[in-house]
């Protein structure tokens, strides 16, 4: 028995040593590398988003390094897992900022984890760029002042609500809407609120579900009896897929609007392609784009990870390039200089659009509203910020 354990320990040690060695291999000498921190939800509840983003970050770093690095310096990436836990995000951010002494941090994916990391980066004065923390309050403190070290690449929730309301009135000519959201999620609450404020037509009904439900027939029956033009479902694809399936099977034929949380292949798998028609959702990036950079990104991602990239990976990919541009403009790798450059960043050209940061560290960019018919992305409409 002892021998077996010894053997297993030895195997584990070798494995770990191998992992360690591969990290070291990429390093150059001290001083001619730029340290970049990456912290994502690699395990836990939201690991689907976190893993997609972490993959794209490492891919972007490899590309930059293969292309000669930033000002001739290679980027050295330090990656941590936040376990989808807020305290772990605070701990990882502190480790990156104080022990690993990185120039900037990419991640985490969710708004909650990003908020948890803010006290750490503020104390250490290291800039943090979150690809997909879309909650409005992420970059602002309680009194409405901007958080000095936090940036995001995805547009904020309120902008999605505005874009969808504008789109529903304009392109869909909707006069009335029903909202079916998850009232335990800040994401859904924020989206419903801005949608209601900006939609000039009538909100006929507002119904709720909870995140772990899978049978929506009761609430959909109530909705079927209402007279409305468009159904707005502020939620994630796990529920939205099932809602779409059950709504279409029940005979609810109105167009369904959704936020960026719809943007995952699983939505179509859950709903069945024949049911996914007349679906419109805001996207940070469109897979059907003709831009060569986007095509290149999709191809490389597929080759490297044998999976379809989604907008989360696209945002994470852009986040790395945002930091690259800031590093180049700063001409210095100190966190303070990078932060200054991020503050003034303008006309960044990425695969999720061309944007600059506004005074609240939000990207000023247009939203893409993707139309799906029979499970296929057929059209993408741009809605610009006012």
């Amino acid at each position: 028995m002892k021998k077996v354990i010894l053997g297993m320990t030895a195997t584990a040690a070798v494995l770990l040593a191998a992992c360690g060695a591969s990290d070291v291999a990429g390093e150059g000498g001290e001083g001619d590398t730029i340290k970049l921190g990456s912290m994502f939800e690699l395990t836990g509840d939201v690991s689907a988003y976190g893993t997609a983003e972490a993959n794209a970050v490492s891919m972007a770093v490899e590309e930059i390094n293969a292309g000669g690095g930033v000002d001739g310096k290679q980027i050295e990436l330090t990656e941590y897992d936040t376990k989808s836990q807020d305290t772990e995000a605070a701990s990882a951010a502190t480790k990156l900022a104080t022990q690993d002494k990185v120039s900037a941090i990419v991640g985490p994916a969710t708004s909650g984890a990003t908020k948890a990391a803010i006290p750490s980066v503020n104390r250490a004065q290291v800039p943090l760029v979150s690809p997909s923390a879309t909650d409005d309050s992420v970059t602002l403190d309680d009194s409405g002042n901007v958080q000095p070290y936090v940036y995001r690449v995805g547009f904020q929730d309120s902008f999605q609500g505005v874009s969808l309301a504008t789109f529903a009135e304009g392109d869909l000519e909707a006069k009335s809407a029903v909202i079916l959201g998850d009232n335990s999620s800040d994401y859904a609450i924020g989206l419903s609120k801005t949608f209601k404020e900006n939609f000039d037509g009538e909100i006929v009904a507002e119904e709720n579900f909870t995140a772990d439900e899978s049978d929506f027939s009761a609430v959909l029956t109530r909705i079927r009896n209402e007279d409305f033009d468009v159904l707005f479902v502020p939620g994630y694809y796990e529920q939205a897929g099932l809602i779409i399936k059950q709504a279409r099977e029940m005979g609810i034929e109105q167009p369904i609007l959704g936020p960026d949380g719809f943007g995952n292949e699983t939505l179509i798998d859950l709903a069945g392609a024949e049911n996914v028609s007349d679906i419109y959702y805001t996207a940070h990036f469109s897979m059907s784009s003709d831009e060569p950079e986007v095509k290149e990104f999709i191809k490389n991602y597929q080759e490297q990870f044998e999976a379809e990239p989604d907008m989360f990976s696209a945002l994470a990919y852009d986040s790395v390039y945002v930091i690259k541009q800031a590093l180049e403009e700063a001409g210095d790798t100190s966190p303070e200089a990078v932060n200054q450059a991020l503050e003034n960043l303008s006309d960044f050209e990425g695969i999720t659009g061309i944007f600059s940061f506004d005074e609240n560290h939000n990207p000023v960019k247009s939203a893409t509203i993707v139309e799906i018919q029979n499970g296929e992305e057929v059209n993408a409409t741009e809605v610009s910020p006012e």
Partner: protein, 328 residues
Amino acid sequence: MRMLNKTNIGWLALFLLVFALIQGAVLVGWIDAFYEIALVTILINVILAVGLNLIIGYSGQFSLGHAGFMAIGAYAAGIVTKQIPNYGGLLVGMLSGMVIAGLVALIVGIPTLRLKGDYLAIATLGVAEIIRVAILNMGGLTNGAAGLSGIPYLSTWFIAFLAAVFVIILIANYTRSSVGRATISVREDDIAAESLGINTTRYKTVAFVLGAVTASLAGSLHATYFSVISPDQFTFMRSIDILIIVVFGGIGSLTGSVIAAAVLGVLNVFLQPFGSLRMILYALALIFIMIFKPSGLLGTKELQLSKWFNRKKKQTQRQPVKQKEAAR
């Protein structure tokens, strides 16, 4: 019994020694901002695990509701310190959290502690979920699912250390008091205990309330150290994390809970560079310990300075100790 006997001085010296070691490491710079987070997490887990061990290990009641009571403390401290951002506010927040958690535990405990085993576990699980959903729906006060952020950074590792020492002394003394012995008798055999005139529900309730109050204290520390709280942090999985520490250290051993919280905390820190591999290694470590030490690290053994001192005394009094040991 005098307060200042050899045993108590021994304990005091032990706590001071641990304190001096940590303080020294902080001054030298071995414990930097990152290790401080790990340290505070360990101290918070010590408080939670010792409190839960009182419920599970000493009164023998299986509770899965610890995260709920922790949430009460976290939100009480969060809401109060956002209004009064100083140590007075922290104290008010902590105390109000403890009172509310105690009351909730009392109201819930009286009917549910008549249940046994699995039923109680389900009931307490339900209570924790009710607390979480209530917080989720309290609107502006708790800020719903987004939770509270920007809570003033008031707790230091020193405050967490004091709180942990306080809780350990409180619970350790409780289990050694007559009430504590009655509580243990309920664990051993509740029918026998009842036949001796012990009001089993009462002792179970007291242990449950005490555990809830300490969990609330830990929650307050958590909120004012990490500055961000949301209902997501206090789900069922948080209760399981604490349960793991208790089982890992040994059900019924407070020393075990303290050691387990420290070991798991350190393990978590050292596995951090391995990314997603960490959770697998962490799980493997747990499985190995449970296979080779099914009763946990320490079983029901405790670190008892009194025993240690008394043994020394006996050795000096009676020389032929070895004979006695050989006879055993």
